[in-house]
Each structure stands twice: as C-alpha cells, then as structure tokens.
Symmetry: none
Subunit: 416 residues, 2 copies
C-alpha cells in the first residue's frame, strides 16, 4: 500500500512557507503501515494539478492533496479535480450548513465566495471540516483513492485524524516501525565502520539510516512486515545489539535531548548544576533552561566573555590566564571550580574556546575548546577541536559539555 | 527560466524531517529571477532518483537536488547520477584534499568510506564544499543544468551562495526583487490595520506579504518586471513609505537581527553590556554572542535562575524579593543595577519572568515578564504579558529586552 502527497500553493514554490504538512501526513500514514513514496509541491495551476495527480496515481494507491480550497480566485484545486474526474460542481447542503454555522459563530457576514465553498465535485464524498469553511473531499477511481484537504495545518490535521485515518486504516496489511537511537561524540563514518558487521547482518526487512546533525548522529532502524508484534520484538533485539556495540555513544532515543537526559540524572541524584561559559556564551544555560522544571537542579550561570569577568566573578587567577591563556586546561578548570564555589552547587560545566571566525592562532586554531566538568562522581578536563563555523562550534561545545556530565553522572561509584 | 528542486532522503518520506531546504533554495532562486515550478521529495532509491530526475528535466531548465551524498550505504545519489548520465565514478584530487583537511582539523582518522566521498561522476564539475566532506556537483546536458548538493542545510547553503547562485545568476531575463522590513513589538493584524491604505494603494506588480515569527513580523515587498533598476527604485519608494508610517516598529531589514543591530549601536558608542537573566536563562547572552566580534562590547552575563544567585551574585536585596517577589519591577531593576556594578559595564539588560508551563498565579500568570534596561542614555523598566508557550516566551522576552536597549541607544540626548 503506497501513498503520495501533493501540496498545492504558490507560497510553497517561492519559499515563503515551509511545507510542514507533508512531514506530518507522512508520519501519520507511516504509523498505519502506508508507505509514502513521493511528496510533490506544485503551484495553484489547473493543468499542473491534473497532470501531477495523474502521474501520482500511476505510482500510488492513495494520493492526498492539501491546499487550493480557499474562497479566493487563486484557489483552483476544485476546478482541477472536476477536470480530472470529468465531473461538475454541485451544491452540498451539509457543507453549506457547516459554513453558515462558522460564520454565525464568528459574527461575520457570509459572501457569495463563501457560499461557493459549499459546492463540491459531483462524484466525491465530502468530509466535514470542523474548523474551516472548505470541506475535505474523497474520490475513488479504479480502486484508488484521492483525498483533497485544505492547507491550513489545524484544519487538515483534524480532517486527517477524524476522517481520513479511520477510513484508510486497515487498507494496508503491513506495518512499518521505526526506532531511533541518538549518539553523541562520534562521526558518521567512524560510527559506520564500528557497526559495519551489524549493518551487513541486518535482515532485508530492517533498514539502518544515519541522520547527522551538528554534534549528533541519529541511527534510525526501520522494520516493515505483516506482523506488528513480531516487528517490535525484532527492532528491540537489533536496538539492544546497538546498545551492546556502542554503549559509549548512545545517549537517548527518538525525541530525547542531551539537556533533558542530563537534567533527569541531576534530578534523580538530587544534584545541582551551574555553568561557567566563555565561548558558548550562555548557550548551555539556554539549553538547560529550555526544559520545563529545570530550576529544580539548575541554579544559574556566569557567562564570562571578558577575561576580567573570569577573574573578578569566577575567581580565576590572573596569573593562570597570563601564563596559559584564557583557552587552556588550567583556566577552564579554575572556571569550573569557581562557579561551584560561588554558586554553591555540586556540579559544574565550564567551557572556554575559540568559536571563530577570528581569534585563532597556529597553536590554538579556531575550534579549539577546553571543557571542564566537575561533579561528586568525578572531574574531567578535556580539549576538543571543532570546526570553523561559529554557530556549529558553539552548539558542539555545548553538547560535548552536557555529554561529559551525563557520562560522569552515569558512573557507578562516587569519587567524592 | 524554470527550475525544479528534488530533495532526496527516506527521512523526508516518513515525516522524521521537515524539508526546509526547498523553501530556502526556492527563495534564493526567486531572487535571481528563476521560477520554481515543482518541488519533489523522494526516497534514497536509485531507480526513483533517475526517473524523477528525467521527469523534472522535461519540465525545467535547471534541476537542483539535495541529499544522499553521505559516506554511508544508504546514500546512493552519486550512483543514480552515474546511471542517469551514463558515466562512472572517478577520483577527484581537490575533493580528496578538502576531505583530508577537514579530518586533520577535527583530529579524526579517515576511513575508506570518507575516501570514497572524493569520487565523483566523470562528466560533472565538482564544487568544493567548505563545511563538509561531500562535494557538490554540476552537470550540463543539452543546455540544461543538474546541480547536486548535500542535504545538510549549512553545507548546502554555503554551496548555493558561493558557487551555485553566481553560476546561474543572469540566466533569467526578468527580475524578481524582494525587500523585507523587520518589525518588533506589534501583532500581524494590528500592523495590517495600520498600513491598510498603503497596501490597497500598491501597484499590481508589487506584493506585500506578512511573515510572522515569535516576537517579530516581517513585511516582505516583492516586485517583478523586466527592468531591474526601475523595480529597485519602486521598492525603495514603497519601503520609505513604510518607514514613514510605522517608524516605531521597524528595526532592520532582510537578514538583520536585533542582536546585530543592537551590537552595532553599542560598538559605535563604545559602550559595554552585560545581562542579568532569570527566565531567559542565558538566551539573550547566547543571541548576543552568536554575532562574531561581540566580545568588543559584550562582557558577559549572570544567569540567576535561583533566587539565592540573584541575592549572592547580583546583590539583589533579600527583602526586595521577599516583599515584591522575584518577578517584579523592584527585583529586575536591582538585577540590572547589580550586573552593571559587578561587571563594570555601562549598559545592562535584566529579565525576570514566568516562562511556564508552571509557576503562574492569578496575579502573575505564565508569560508575565519584567525587563529593566539601563544605559547612559536612560533607564526603563517595563512589564510584558507574553503567552503560554515556554520556548516562545523565552524568545519574546529576549527580543523585547534587546529592542528596549536598541531604542534607548537611538535616542539623541544622553540622560547621564
């Protein structure tokens, strides 16, 4: 059972709007075992709509379209559907009642343009749109389905959940299951070399994909087959194997973030954290405080961008900075010790580095970053060499610091 | 001159990743006068890639693809391109040197998989990828262009800006010009009411679009026509009119950010800034330090998430917090005064608010935020009532603080 999605609207083709509808629809279809083979974005053009629809129906059993159902002149999806199905528009009383209800509720007067929204192609089954004036439409042709929905995300989502999904669930006799493991601190190619044998040994119905992001590579396992329970068990087994092979890199799954995972560990242990940030400029504090409830374990931060702040507020010795430089093992350790002392926490992350684009030297090129992490479980100060891109260096340094703390908190024996 | 975009990757078809590359590419092409007629997202499937490429080249003069160029087994765009152009992979020394440079800089060992990334189809012109290991590739066939780029957004963007756009600029004979004014501190519908007459009076070949983001509404003017110089002049005139109508809301244009604009003003005046952040959790510091060279005017920040940090580090009186609460005019003013004193700057932004989802009360619901801004030009402490969404509240508070400082720095007379 295969599907295609067609999103219709000029705004998509001039880059004014990012098409987020498709990803959401694809995810929903996937969960019902329907595979999406292509997504196309096209303009509000009658010929292009009929042509693209025809091509999609040659490849897929179900075609879902969004957009072009509004009351204004540029919305011509209904006219194109009439062309395609060789039919004409007819008045649909229930859709009219729905439009009237919405206008009464809003206290707006109804125009002829709105009345025209109650007209639908004669051969379709209209689907009531609870949140808007354009009804959804379902067409059947030679055993295949065409479903037309409005492009407004919440109208489309309610139609999908209440009408489309119940209708197409059960059409597919196979299931598709995903499980995504999140890794940090290792490059895509190095990871691939480490788990090459695992990948080669995967059965044909289970696929592995590498999805890199700055500072992170996601490993997605996808299984497809007729038996949901069996697939789930198989994915479980393969994921366990990955945990066994690369335990030092996996920090979470699916939508987990390092700041959440690290925060959870701090909360469990009843620890408190503060950060002393130079090149990350408050970004670690920002990540930590993006998590609701982080005030339970996060006390705050000193962003010590100027050296005098490192000295006056964090208590780093002027001699240390003079002798070793602001980006050094010695300075970053004193920053960590200083923030623990002044903020009265038992954990600290301190970072000092050269984010770029300026400030690099032959000995300490842009990307050079020292990170010190202290906790009751241990102390570690490490150097990293990131790249040349300022924004990415900041993100990678922040994630590296959080991951160092996470690993320390996961060790079994307290070093204090 | 028409273009199509093909984004390649299974992650797009299962809804794991929203395709944001296409909108960005479409916008760039648009600005060079090239119209995008279709965007297609397809899977990492060799046959589908060649088939889709063939169909796209029948409709468009230029086809741009992203994705499927990574080092791992699931990346097969290069193999598909070899099929399509009936050619084979050959070793490309410059691409290899680039890969080696990146690995040396990162201190990672290079694997065979990375070496293979230096192989490109024989008939293409490789384009150096400054930020990643997969080179871009340009193919010409019967007067049409195929351009293949990696899917990692910042690698793709740098390739587009530095190599693709210069290459295709001038291919189109009509011009599309955009000019985007950035506003802060006003809602979309209020803005629309304020400039309704302006909008109604626009000539047909100039369009106005409202592009809202958290804490910001962008107003984009788009003009199209054959004469570039004439369009530019017309846009100039319309933009001037907007500046005249809503001067208090416009803070910049196009890719400007409030943190850059405010930073520029600080540098011009030789002022220094520090921030004292509670609910924004370091996000203002992060925005400011995202700008290269910000160390010239930004000294640092205290993220005072816990009340004891407000007292012990910033010197807010315990009595003030007890009497008025941490989210109050009095507390936030003392935070601003404290950070100026301790960090020895002449400007400060201090924020204390309830970001949510918890912590609200009937008197101070979630979204209540106090901001205090001090500078040699003046002092202002204001309350804002944002919404219920934690992430958006943090962003809106940060932008509001930066904009308060920007406005202070733009006043003519020093209050000190």
């Amino acid at each position: 059972m295969q599907a295609e999605i067609i999103t219709i609207g000029d705004e998509l083709l001039i880059g004014q709007v990012i098409d987020s509808n498709s990803a959401w629809i694809a995810e929903q279809l996937n969960m019902t075992g329907i595979r999406v083979v292509q997504i196309s974005s096209i303009s509000d053009n009658r010929d292009q709509i009929t042509k693209t629809l025809g091509e999609a129906l040659q490849r897929a059993d179900i075609v879902l379209t969004t957009g072009g159902l509004g009351p204004t002149k540029d919305d011509i999806t209904k006219a194109a559907l009439c062309d395609f199905f060789e039919t004409r528009l007819v008045f649909h009383q229930e859709s009219f009642d729905n439009i009237e209800r919405i206008f009464v509720a809003r206290g707006y007067p109804m125009t002829d343009l709105n009345r025209a929204q109650a007209e639908v192609p004669e051969c379709c089954t209209p689907m009531a749109n609870r949140y808007g004036t354009a009804p959804g439409m379902l067409f059947e042709k030679e055993g295949r389905l065409v479903i037309s929905m409005p492009g407004v995300p919440f109208e489309m989502k309610s139609l999908m959940q209440e009408q489309v999904i119940p209708r197409i669930r059960g059409l597919s006799h196979s299931s598709i299951l995903h499980r995504t493991l999140l890794t940090h601190g290792v490059g895509e190619s190095f990871l691939a070399a480490r788990i090459e044998d695992f990948e080669d040994a995967l059965p044909v119905h289970i696929k592995l994909a590498y999805l890199p992001q700055p500072g992170m590579v996601r490993l997605r396992l996808t299984a497809s087959g007729p038996d949901f329970a069996e697939l789930k068990q198989e994915l479980e087994k393969q994921a366990d194997e990955l945990y066994r092979l690369i335990p030092e890199y996996i920090f979470g799954e699916n939508d987990d973030t390092l700041e959440e995972i690290t925060g959870k560990l701090l909360r469990e242990k009843n620890f408190t954290l503060a950060t002393a940030e130079s090149c990350t400029g408050g970004y670690i504090a920002h990540l930590l405080t993006s998590v609701p409830g982080s005030s339970e374990y996060f006390k705050g931060s000193v962003v010590a961008y100027a050296n005098e702040i490192k000295e006056n507020i964090l208590g780093v010795s002027a001699l240390t900075i003079q002798k070793y430089g602001a980006v050094s093992q010695e300075t970053v350790f004193e920053m960590a010790a200083g923030i623990i002392r002044h903020f009265n926490t038992n954990c600290a992350i301190a970072v000092s580095g050269i984010a770029g684009p300026d400030g690099g030297t032959p000995e300490k090129p842009v990307g050079t970053t020292w990170i010190s992490v202290l906790s009751p479980m241990g102390a570690e100060t490490r150097m990293f060499t990131f790249g040349e891109h300022r924004g990415r260096n900041i993100r990678r340094a922040a994630l590296a610091g959080l991951d160092m703390l996470r690993k320390q908190l996961m060790t079994q024996n307290s070093a204090s």
